[in-house]
Symmetry: C2
Subunit: 350 residues, 2 copies
C-alpha cells in the first residue's frame, strides 16, 4: 500500500480523487468499501484515502489488487460532525478533511469527497482552494428527482444562511452551467424559489435577483416557482438561499420517511393487509428503489476553483459510491472551468 | 333565506361563523355544500354566507330546512387570488372577504373562514380585527401529521416573510397556547426550526429567539430541530419565519404528490404489478386516506383578537368542512382569549 502515484505510468484520462475517510456516521467502514467498488468500476480511477492509517488499513487487507491505484495519506485528526467550523480550522491542522482538500489544492487530485462536517468543509475548501473570480462564496447544489423521470438541480442547500440578490443570481448562473454540463440540457431552465408565482410576492432580494436574471439573455430564466413545483420537473435549476434550501431538502427527506412508514403501517394493520403486503412485496421493493435517495447522494460545492463533493453524513456504501461517481462526472465535464468561463462572460457583458 | 339571526331565539352555546364564499379555486360550488354539511353536523351552528347573492342562491335551493340558521350577506366584489393585497384593500371596500371579517369585527360572528388571497386576508384581518396587545403581526399556523399518530403545530407558514427574534418568540408562545387548547397537550413542547440541532448554527435571530424562550419557564422549550424531524412528532410546536415555513409546507405537499404518483406508476408498470394493485386496492385506499391532507385543512391566523381561518385555495368540500370544524373548535376552546392571557402574563414577567 506504499506505492506512490508518481511512480505509476501516467495514463491518459486518469482521474484521481482525494477521499476523506473519517467523516460521516460510519467513517472508513462504509467509505472504503465504496472506494474499492469505484476502483472496480472505473479502471482509470486512482484514489487517495485520507485518514488515520491504522483505522483504514484493516478495510484494505483483501484488496492488494488495487495497491497501485490507491494510496493512504495518514491524517491524525478528525473534525467532529458537531464541531464549530472556526474552531476545527484553527485547532486541527492535520485533519483528514484538510489533508484531502490540500491534495486538490496541490494538484495531486482533481476532486475531494467528504461526508464530514459541512460547515468545516465549506470553510476549509474556501480557504484552501478558493472561489472562482466573481463568486463571493460557494453554494451547495444537489440533484432532486422529479415527476418527469429526470433530475432537477437545487441550490443553495445550506452554504449561505442568507443570500443577497447578486448571490442568488450567481447561484442561478452556476446551477445553469452545472445542469448543462451534467444533465446535458440545452439552455436549462432556471427559477427562483418564492412563496408565490406572482412577481409581487416574496423577499426584496428575490425580486431583485429576478430583475438581474432577466437581463442575462444567456440564462433561460423562468421567474418564480413555489415549493410545490420543485418535484414537477418543469425547471432544471431551482435557486434559493441556503437556509430555505436546507430546510426544504430536509423536510422532503423527513416526509419521505414518514410516508414510507405510513405505507408500511397500513400494510401491517391487519392480517388481510399483511397478506396483501407479501403479494406486493416486489412492487414495494421497486417503489423503494425508485424513491431511494441514495442515488442522488453527493452535493457539489459550486463556485470553487476545484471540485469538492459533500456526501451525506448518513450515507451508506451505495450512497457513498454515488457521491464518488458524481465527482468523476464533474471531472469529465470540467464543471469548474465551465462555470469560470460563464461567469467571466457575464461579468464582461455587464 | 331572508330570516335574520336577530329574530331567532338565542340558544346557549350558539356558534356563528362568517364564511367568505367567493374565495379559492372553486368558490361557492364547494364552499356552500361544505357549509350545509357543517349545519347538519352541528345543530348549534349558524352561518353567514358572504358573496354575490346570485352566485350563492342556486346552491341553496334544496336546503330550506336550514333557512333559519343561515343568512346570505351580499358582497359584490371579489378579491382575486393573485391580486396585490394593498390594491385589493384600497379598491374593493365591498369584497366578500372584507364583509365576512366585518361581521366578526361587529360581533355578529365569532369566526371568519376564507379560502381567498392569503395576503389580503392577513392584511384586512389585521386592519379590521387587530392584533392582541403585545403581538406585532399575526402568524399562520397549521397542523401537520406526525409519526406518533398525532399532530404537530407549525408556524409561521407565510404571514411574515422575515421574523425577528421577538416575533419568533411570540410565535412560540402562541403556538404553545394553541397546542394546549386544541390538542389538550399539557405543557406542549416547542422547538425552533434551524439548519442544525447544535446551538452554534443558524441565523442570529433564531439563536436570540432561543435565548428569549429559555427565559420563559412557562414555555416547554426544547431548543432547535432540523426539518427532517418535523414529522417525527417529538415536538408539539415548530417555529420558524414565514418564508421558510411556507416553503417547507409546500415542498412537503409537493413531495407527497410526487411519491404517491411514483407509487401509482410502480403499480402500473407491468401486468403483474397491475394485478397486484387490484389486490391491494383497499390497502392503497386506506393509505391515501391516512395521508390525505384534507383532514388538516384550515390554517389559523394566530395573534388576532378574533378567530380567522384560512382554508386552502384548492380545498374541496371535505377539506373546507375541516376548516369550518377548526373554527368551531377554536371558538369552543377560546383560543384568542387564552393567547391574550398568556402573552399578558409573559409581558408582566419581563
Amino acid at each position: 500500500m506504499n506505492s506512490s502515484f508518481s511512480q505509476i505510468k501516467q495514463i491518459a484520462n486518469n482521474k484521481t480523487l482525494a477521499i476523506d475517510c473519517m467523516g460521516g456516521d460510519f467513517g472508513p467502514s462504509v467509505i472504503i468499501p465504496a472506494a474499492i467498488q469505484a476502483l472496480k468500476q472505473y479502471p482509470e480511477l486512482r484514489l487517495y484515502l485520507v485518514g488515520q492509517e491504522n483505522q483504514l488499513k484493516p478495510y484494505l487487507k483483501k484488496f492488494h489488487e488495487f495497491k497501485d491505484r490507491l494510496q493512504i495519506l495518514n491524517a491524525d485528526e478528525i473534525i467532529a460532525m458537531d464541531e464549530k467550523p472556526s474552531r476545527a480550522i484553527r485547532s486541527k491542522p492535520n485533519s483528514s478533511m484538510r489533508q484531502a482538500l490540500q491534495l486538490v489544492k496541490d494538484g495531486k487530485a482533481q476532486a475531494c469527497i467528504s461526508s464530514g462536517n459541512t460547515g468545516a468543509l465549506m470553510a476549509l475548501a474556501t480557504i484552501l482552494i478558493g472561489t472562482l473570480p466573481g463568486i463571493e462564496r460557494p453554494a451547495i447544489v444537489a440533484e432532486l428527482p422529479n415527476q418527469k423521470g429526470g433530475e432537477s438541480h437545487m441550490l443553495d442547500l445550506g452554504a449561505n444562511i442568507d443570500a443577497s440578490a447578486e448571490q442568488l443570481a450567481s447561484f442561478a448562473v452556476m446551477g445553469s452551467v452545472l445542469a448543462e454540463a451534467i444533465s446535458e440540457e440545452v439552455k436549462p431552465s432556471v427559477a427562483l424559489l418564492n412563496i408565490g408565482e406572482e412577481s409581487i410576492k416574496g423577499r426584496d432580494s428575490i425580486k431583485l435577483a429576478a430583475d438581474l436574471l432577466r437581463q442575462h439573455k444567456d440564462i433561460n430564466f423562468q421567474g418564480f416557482i413555489e415549493a410545490t413545483q420543485i418535484f414537477h420537473g418543469e425547471v432544471d435549476v431551482i435557486v434559493c438561499d441556503g437556509f430555505t434550501g436546507n430546510n426544504v431538502l430536509k423536510a422532503s427527506e423527513g416526509i419521505t420517511r414518514f410516508l414510507y412508514d405510513q405505507l408500511r403501517a397500513e400494510f401491517s394493520s391487519s392480517w388481510r393487509h399483511k397478506l396483501a403486503a407479501i403479494m406486493v412485496q416486489p412492487v414495494l421493493n421497486a417503489f423503494k428503489k425508485r424513491i431511494n435517495p441514495d442515488q442522488y447522494n453527493g452535493a457539489s460545492l459550486l463556485g470553487l476553483r476545484e471540485i469538492v463533493i459533500k456526501s451525506h453524513g448518513s450515507a451508506d456504501k451505495n450512497a457513498t459510491l454515488a457521491a464518488i461517481k458524481k465527482a468523476i462526472v464533474e471531472i469529465e465535464r470540467q464543471v469548474p472551468q465551465k462555470i469560470q468561463h460563464k461567469v467571466a462572460s457575464l461579468l464582461i457583458d455587464e
